[in-house]
Amino acid sequence: MVPQSKAKALNMKYSIAKRLTEKQKTSIAGYLFISPFFLLFAVFGAFPMIFSFYLAFQKWNGFGEMTFVGFQNFNFIFIDPVFWKSIYNTVIIGLLGTVPQLIAALILAVILNSVLVKMKSFFRVAYFVPNVTSIVAVAIVFTVIFNEHQSGIVNATLGLFGLSPVNWQTSEWGVKIAIATMIFWRWVGYNSIIFLAGLQSIPKELYEAAEMDGAKKWQQFLFITVPMLKPIIIFVVFTATIGSLQIFAEPLIFSGSGFREESITIVLYLWREAFSNNAFGTASATAVSLFLLIIAFSVINVLMSNRLGKTGNIRG
């Protein structure tokens, strides 16, 4: 019975296929090929996104009826000092975690790219390994390293230099530095690999010419490497900005589910609302606010990088 119906269906398909023009068939095949992604994206990506815009204006505990409350959810979070603190924390941790990290990544990439270094592929893999390590494992290990106790690794080291121990998990700056260090460790290798790819696309002749003109190594770096890497730098800054606005797992595991004010980030605030407090309305309002914030940051990024492109283009 099954094979018969299948054959019938096949025949039907075949006759449909006959009636279509070659061009239509090509486009149908194309759509079929890309459809898995779009179907999955629609279900797991687009729908939740649109739904959270809807939820931002509802009051909902996850089970009962939703009630429309207008802008009340936004009102709740905007008058909440913890929300503003979470934005502040996110930006500070983001800056602490990315600015030194990108500089270090660039320097690492230049070193990796130089002819002096042996075993290049080993270092490339070694740099990349932190990025594929489980984020939870990383956070747990760093929790041990940045322990509040005097016997914690970092505090003990500070003690060797006669410095007093830091409350890494509960003090305003301690917790931010600890989390930023985690981000640094995890992403510096990834970004240096990307920089390395960019470095390798810079024509060698430029350096040879500069050398002929008597340019020193640091001058070559500043006036050839950096300007030529501009598109890569813009890309890396872009992704790092968006990534750091979404910091979540590190602070969650590092400072536990007490959601302390020193370490709560926007996404953590959102998560607390939804999955700890069952307040899905305010959680969605937070998500929408985060969405707008990311757009704002991206616009600033674009404007700044456009400007860089105009003023700093040495070759052009």
Binding site: A17, F76, S151, T170, N277
Partner: protein, 424 residues
């Protein structure tokens, strides 16, 4: 060529579709002759073994137990119930977590409709009450184990401070919280060690002995109206400020290491902490003993077995869980996995009366906890219990680590709590 590939692709999709529907049909067919029950649990319960025993007696039932990590388990269950599909036939819910499922009453079977009234008298009253709704008409789950609390203490630290060390005398020495503070002072003076390593457990112990906690039956926040929680907070703050309490966070490596080193005197903890102490302090056999807690007892942990509405076999699921948590099976769980029984009839069983633990100085620890189990207050916790708890602990942490002003911290915590409560 292109035409061929198009046909191939289309037929592939078609086969996939028919294949899927085929297996579905088969699945339906085979489940009708054997009743399949999916059960979600967390941690190590040892229920797999008991389920095998049950399946031998009931060959028409097939039970599949899936165990996940504590938080993941409860979050997955919450999501499944909220979505209205994907929930198992039987779900275990921990006592603190049951609060967040209270608003989902319509997603569970009322076990009173399935005959739970009959077995009610087998269980401790307070434990049973926590599994009911506020007015006692709806029963979410049948009680599994409990976590009655007692006072673990270091014999060597007590000796060093010139205090008595056997459980009876220690109990007499510290009958209430004033005596606890006084002993804290003596220990601090004589040995320089804190009475406890963590303020959270002292606060929790006091909270558990309060006649009402954070919410009344209507889920209104009462911590400002009723004096008990503020009193528990003040008492804890007082000990912190006098330097009688250590500041190692619960579950941190230091907290565990301190158990073995004997760097503090008492640990106010539930029955299941015995395993934690043994694990963290393998070299301290005979140095830890257990006696009743000052001022009464409390409960920390223990679970319930619930039956989500989605199940197709509520009767069979209920029969199984009623069997699983009946006194005879709870006794097995106690012997094999150390789950402390919620059925008081077991407390008179010979294996309970003659129990002794060499690690804890050869005393009958089971009897100590059985006594606390019968002293626990019946209390309504409320669905937002966790919000309040987290913020009060934050306040205590600030007092301990930042020497913050306790009154200001209390007010700030209450403010944060109220701000979160108005959102649901």
């Amino acid at each position: 060529m292109r035409k061929l590939s198009l046909i191939l692709l289309l037929s592939f999709v078609l086969i996939l579709v028919t294949a899927c529907s085929d297996t579905e049909a088969n699945g339906e067919g085979s489940s009708s002759d054997k009743i399949k029950l999916d059960m979600w649990v967390f941690g190590s319960t040892g229920y797999e073994k008991l389920a095998d025993e049950y399946m031998k007696e009931h060959p028409n039932v097939e039970i599949k137990i899936q165990s996940t990590q504590f938080d993941d388990h409860h979050n997955a269950l919450f999501t499944a119930l909220s979505a209205g599909s994907g929930a198992p036939d039987i779900a275990m819910i921990e006592v603190n977590n049951i609060e967040r499922f209270r608003q989902a009453q319509d997603r569970f079977h009322n076990l009173y409709d399935l005959g739970a009234e009959e077995v009610k008298d087998d269980y401790l009253d307070w434990k049973w009450r926590l599994g009911e709704n506020a007015d006692g008409t709806f029963l979410y789950g049948l009680p599994t184990d409990i976590g009655p609390t007692a006072m673990f203490y270091r014999v060597d630290v007590f000796k060093e401070a010139g205090l008595p060390t056997d459980p009876e005398s220690v109990k007499k020495l510290i009958p209430d919280w004033d005596a606890y503070a006084e002993v804290a002072r003596i220990i601090k003076e004589k040995t320089g060690k804190p009475i406890a390593d963590n303020y959270e457990l002292i606060y929790n112990a006091l909270r558990d002995q309060a006649p009402v906690q954070y919410f009344n039956n209507e889920d209104e926040l009462i911590i400002e109206k009723e004096p008990y929680i503020k009193a528990a907070y003040d008492y804890t703050v007082d000990l912190i400020q006098k330097g009688y309490v250590g500041d190692n966070g619960l579950w941190t490596p230091e907290w565990g290491a301190a158990m073995d080193k004997g760097s503090y005197a008492t640990l106010l903890a539930p029955a299941w902490m015995q395993g934690v102490v043994k694990g963290n302090a393998p070299n301290s056999s005979g140095k830890w003993m257990i006696t009743g807690m000052p001022g009464g007892a409390g409960n920390w942990g223990g679970s319930y077995l619930t039956i989500p509405k989605e199940t197709k076999h509520p009767e069979e699921a209920y029969k199984f869980i009623q069997w699983l948590v009946a006194p005879e099976q709870q006794l097995k769980s106690f012997k094999e996995m150390g789950l402390f029984p919620s059925t008081p009839s077991i407390y008179n069983d010979p294996s309970f009366k003659d129990y002794s633990d060499d690690y804890f100085g050869g005393i009958n620890t089971a009897q100590v906890f059985a006594q606390s189990a019968q002293m626990v207050q019946t209390v309504y916790m409320g669905k937002n219990y966790k919000v309040v708890q987290a913020e009060i602990v934050n306040a205590l942490t600030n007092v301990s680590k930042k020497s913050a002003d306790p009154e200001k911290e209390w007010k700030a915590a209450v403010k944060r709590i109220k701000r979160q409560l108005e959102r649901q």
